[in-house]
Amino acid sequence: MSTRDWPLWEVFVRSRRGLSHVHVGSLHAPDAEMALRNARDVYTRRQEGVSLWVVPSAEIVASEAGQREEFFDPAADKIYRHPTFYEIPEGVEHL
């Protein structure tokens, strides 16, 4: 079985406690166990993370580029949805 037959996995890394997992890239692996270990070796070798998720790329349901306008443009003129009218208390980094 060549590498080309291996499914693709998306990798998410949480860089430290309190932050969310962030998508960092993808890799090929024959199964979930191997995907997790490959992710460790490829994406966290410079202390990038404290937690890893791997997700089969085929399981991700993505919005389509062709629907971009109807999906996202209507939010463009709704400035009142932004919490920019509040003062952020000092010391709150991730609001």
Partner: protein, 246 residues
Amino acid sequence: MITPPSSTPFSYVLGLADDALVSAQRMGWWISRAPQLEEDLALANIGLDQLGQARNLLTYAGELEGAGRSEDDLAYLRDDRDFRNVWLVERPQTDFGVAMARLLVFSAWQAELYAALALGEDPTLAAIAGKAVKEVAYHLDHARRWVVRLGDGTEESHARMQVALEAEWPYVEELFGPVDGAVVDPVALRDAVLTTVESVLAEATLVVPQVAPARGGGRRGLHTEDLGYLLAEMQHLHRSHPGATW
């Protein structure tokens, strides 16, 4: 605080350092040659972990010797007869099954060794081993998963994994040979290491080889021809351009 002079022999620490150094060099061969990119990085990481262990151990060995030799002096300016590593790590490992069989044995041995050193009486070795023990746990996990995957895989992968295991098995026994002044008695590690390895082999549906041990002698400076070629490649740059950095 004044640390009392250590009674740990230079030759003992040198042996452990050389095991890690030579293994790291062999692991480096796989860079750009592993079955896929992800494994390429995994093996490079493992080799670099071992190189880090070797650097710490060589530095400490140099201090014990008291002749002013640095880690670089010890790594690059000794000839094969002055190396004290076991034969297990010095032979080429250009077959992936062989590399994983060897890593399984070596990391199972290092795991027991470093765990014991971390609790041992030499505080410097305890500190070096305490850091390395986590690295080696991952190496063992990596090797175990591949050996099981290949051993309990297809008919062909099973057969090739068994052949690889047979090739490495003669070199297992040397790990447990007596060493003068050993902080951790190598003989005392034997049962625990073999229990670990044999449980993996059982899970992998592989058979424990029945082969005579190789002659060995690495701890006394007797080596296979292969070590000379390894050192020639590893030491060439430093010897041609002393003190070169990049």
